[in-house]
């Protein structure tokens, strides 16, 4: 019956497009072991993690009772007594039965007393049913043992059951009949549970491990390419998702951890990563319908709300991949030309000019004019470091000053660097994540060609978004560059003694981890080292490092309107920084963050309390005769 109830899922997975997820078995197993054996992600929420671990371990111990229950009647004479069924196993069962009830008690306390917001939208009946079934199964198990003890069996390994036997004895129930009733109640509840599982979120008991095993082992920053055998760039039917994407849907436990960390959800936009998955899951379970996937099961507004910050995927205990699904469905929308006016403007500008602002390419390097020294053209002479500057750092007047500051720091450290001038194009990171795969390919190819003309050792980027595209996405075209963020290069220069700072007696600052530097590419420490090296005291916000909260600009959101936003993620974040108390500066390491958070501080009217500074603005080189910028201003371009 269980199999029959699962038949839709089995056939959906069997007919789904293929995807290679069978390599590196040891690494895959190791992930399963830490995720399940150590409950690594589960324990990030201590109460939920502990109670789940209790129920999880108790389940395995009590499974021995299930074997006994079925074995003893199906095969007369079957018993675990030979391996200790009446001694130590009985003792464990007795103990873990109580522990299981404690676990369920904690779960009840969490779900009905604490009521965390992340459960909003989860199935309440699924949760209630499992509590009742567990209590039935465990209760009947205990009482059956108690009745057996009442009937004369040895209870020395079962203290709890013995105690219950005493109670039963005092009430005066007949031992034989009670044992029989409890047995059938036990077996009946187990069978009911088994039949119930395939239609419930408790499928995860079977699917969590395979879903974690078959997780994506590619670099986090590489968005999945469009499979060659797919007809259109996007996905508009559930059946077009590969089997792992479909397995994700079935594995969801509705724990809502993704929803709790989602900046779009917090902003009041119509996106909950959890409901995204469960809505698609329900559509998969319901089978073919007239409702289209994109714009039907999942609304367009839901898809465009995502900032691609990856917090949901980082948090998911069963390794569900939300982003590839969102990007694939966005690809369908873009292919059909269904984009918002803001996004259309940006994408049209990018198509025409290679930048989202609609500025001429020839103005890309204009920021260099106000430098006191010339910047090398990497296309015409070899350089050590090829600096990929990026759109915002090149064109936005609010960021250009920081760009010049970075140039001055590089110059002070004696770094041999150059830029691509008007040959640079937008890296395409957010273009790709907005679902514009064709334009991404055009931009990437153009940059790869331009970079290919240059002689250099390493690439440095200002923008974490460019960093991610060049380092991870461009591998799709066979381009493997050594790419690092400017914070990493500057930290390295300080370490090597090439950049000598004049540390100040700085105040307390906090630091915002950009999604594409931190969560995507693990760049957590270099920015912090730089802040300390500059002489400031770092006070991290509660949501930092992997748990950083997105500014709201990523994945093409910066090109779209704020319609429907109740609280901008950037303002939510500034409030978090303000709650730390006496913080002087809100330090950032991404050009978009400078723009986003300066606007957020103005909108909140707290410019007198907090100022946004880029890390480069904190760093002051020690003036020496050798490294002083040359006075002779050379006009370039």
């Amino acid at each position: 019956m269980t199999g029959w109830r699962a038949r839709h899922y089995v056939s959906a997975l069997a007919n789904a497009p293929k995807v290679a997820r069978f390599d590196q078995p040891l690494r895959r197993l190791e992930g399963v072991a830490t995720a399940i054996g150590l409950h690594r992600k589960m324990l990030r929420k201590p109460l939920a993690g502990v109670l789940h671990a209790i129920i999880f371990i108790s389940f395995f111990v009590l499974f021995t009772a299930t074997i006994e229950a079925f074995g003893s009647r199906l095969f007369p004479g079957f018993s675990l007594a030979l391996v200790g069924g009446e001694t130590w196993i009985a003792g464990l069962q007795d103990f873990f039965a109580v522990l299981m009830l404690i676990g369920v008690g904690l779960a009840l306390y969490q779900r009905y007393v604490l009521r965390p917001a992340r459960f909003k939208g989860s199935s309440g009946s699924d949760a209630a049913i499992i509590y009742v079934l567990i209590v039935l199964i465990v209760g009947s198990l205990l009482f059956e043992a108690a009745a057996r003890i009442l009937g004369g069996a040895d209870g020395s390994w079962r203290p709890v059951a013995s105690w219950l036997a005493g109670l039963l004895g005092r009430i005066g129930v007949p031992a034989q009949e009670t044992q029989e009733i409890c047995y059938w109640l036990h077996v009946g509840a187990i069978l009911a549970f088994l039949v119930y599982i395939p239609g419930s979120k408790h499928r995860h008991m079977f699917l969590a491990a395979p879903n974690i095993y078959f997780r994506n082992l590619e670099p986090r920053g590489a968005a999945p390419a469009v499979p060659r055998d797919r007809e259109n760039p996007g996905v508009d039917k559930l059946a077009e998702f590969d089997w792992k994407q479909q397995l994700d849907l079935l594995s969801c436990t509705e724990c809502g951890r993704c929803q709790a960390v989602c900046p779009a959800y917090a902003a009041g936009l119509p996106l909950s990563p959890k409901m995204l998955i469960t809505d698609m899951r329900d559509a998969l379970a319901a089978g073919p319908s007239a409702l289209p996937l994109v714009g039907g099961v999942i609304s367009e507004a839901t898809l465009w709300a995502c900032t691609t910050c990856r917090a949901c995927m980082e948090e998911c205990p069963v390794e569900i991949e939300h982003l590839p699904k969102i990007i694939d469905m966005r690809r369908h929308l873009v292919d059909e030309g269904r984009v918002s006016p803001g996004l259309q403007d940006a994408l049209s500008n990018l198509t025409r000019l290679g930048n989202s602002m609609g500025k001429p390419s020839k103005m890309r390097a204009r920021w260099t004019r106000e430098l006191g020294f010339p910047v090398k053209d990497a296309r015409s002479e070899p350089v050590d470091v090829l600096w990929f500057v990026g759109d915002y750092a090149s064109y936005d007047p609010r960021v250009q000053e920081i760009t010049r500051k970075v140039a001055e720091l590089l110059n002070a450290a004696g770094v041999d660097f150059g830029i691509l001038f008007d040959a640079e194009r937008n890296s395409g990171n957010d273009v790709r994540r907005a679902g514009e795969e064709g334009l991404f390919e055009t931009l990437a190819q153009s940059n790869i060609d331009a970079i290919g003309e240059c002689t250099f050792n390493r690439i440095m980027t200002t923008d974490p978004h460019s960093l991610n595209a060049l380092k991870n996405d461009y591998r799709h075209f066979g381009a493997a560059f050594e790419v690092l963020h400017y914070t990493a290069l500057l930290a390295e220069l300080i370490q090597a003694g090439k950049l000598d700072l004049a540390p100040v007696d700085g105040g307390k600052v906090t630091y915002h981890d950009p999604c594409y530097l931190g969560r995507y590419n693990g760049g957590f420490d270099a920015p912090r080292d730089l802040i300390r090296a500059a002489g400031y005291t770092l006070h991290d916000m509660p949501r930092c490092r992997e748990n950083s909260f997105c500014c709201g600009a990523g994945g093409g959101r910066i090109w779209q309107s704020d319609d429907g936003v109740a609280e901008r993620p950037s303002e939510n974040r500034i409030r978090e920084a303000l709650s730390l108390g006496d913080i002087d500066y809100f330090v950032v390491a991404c050009p978009k963050d400078k723009v986003m958070y300066t606007a957020a501080i103005d909108a909140l009217g707290v410019a007198d309390k907090l100022k946004v500074l880029d890390i480069a603005e904190l760093l002051v080189p020690r003036p020496t005769r050798d490294t002083a910028p040359e006075a002779a201003g050379v006009d370039i371009i």
Binding site: P233, P360, E436, G438, L439
Partner: protein, 254 residues
């Protein structure tokens, strides 16, 4: 219905305009070119008509970057695309191209010619009336809605003070489009890539047929008068200066 759409490439207004050496034109060598926005709407109107009543659409593009724009037009649904060869670095004069547009319309058996109502190089909107006159077809400019209506069209024209007028027009006709019935659609990079294989036809410029009645003597860029002040581009300073100026002139109080 056979529709001919005219797509003119004009200098990108975000670029810096400089005079040519002879002082009679703009130095076009260092400029980026983009599709005239009104022509983009004309193209969209043509595609909407095609989708509404099954027309064939021929797009003719003129100027630097014509091929790129024609690929875009093909990706959006144009059936045939033609690049009109003009002299490099010459302004696209409506007088000069009207005869060729009219000839192409005849050659393609077009019964509707659509172009933008104006362009930065034709601010008086002369192309549509020129073509209408040469073909001896009726013409309406400043349209913001064009719908198929039996054998003809129902055309809405925008007038002053928000007044709109609707015509029933017989074909053939020439329309100067101000805005399309719907905003121009986005065409994805993958569709553009597919359309890059579309063969692009060539056409050469025909003699204009108009007698030259006047010549440009001098072109002048706007000069900075004494009444303006450049506040620079640093947002904070600009804001401070603006507040100070407004306060000094009694227009605001701090």
């Amino acid at each position: 219905m056979n529709i001919l759409v005219v797509l003119r490439m004009i200098p990108d207004s975000a670029g810096e305009l400089q005079l040519a050496e002879d002082g009679r034109g703009i130095d076009r060598e260092w400029l980026d070119f983009q599709l005239n926005d009104f022509d983009d709407h004309a193209l969209e109107e043509a595609i909407l008509l095609k989708e509404g009543s099954g027309a064939t659409v021929t797009a003719v593009a003129i100027g630097e970057g014509a091929n790129r724009v024609l690929q875009m037009a093909a990706a959006r649904g144009a059936d045939e695309v033609i690049a009109l060869q003009t002299e490099d670095d010459a302004m696209i004069s409506s007088r000069t191209i009207a005869a060729t547009i009219a000839a192409t319309a005849r050659a393609k058996s077009a019964d509707l010619v659509l172009c933008g109502v104006q362009s930065t190089e034709d601010v008086f909107g002369q192309l549509a009336p020129y073509v209408g006159a040469l073909l001896d077809w009726p013409h309406v400019s400043g349209t913001n809605r064009v719908l198929p209506d039996g054998a003809g069209l129902r055309v809405t024209q925008e007038r002053g003070a928000g007044v709109a007028v609707t015509y029933e027009m017989a074909l053939p006709a020439v329309l100067g489009v101000q805005t399309a019935s719907k905003a121009p659609r986005y065409v994805s990079g993958s569709k553009l890539r597919e359309a890059s294989k579309t063969p692009i036809g060539r056409a050469t410029l025909e003699p204009s047929g108009f007698e030259r009645s006047a010549e440009i003597r001098e072109l002048r860029l706007p000069t900075q008068g004494g009444s303006g002040e450049d506040l620079g581009n640093d947002a904070e300073n600009v804001a401070d200066r603006l507040v100070a100026i407004l306060a000094a002139n009694g227009l605001a109080r701090k």
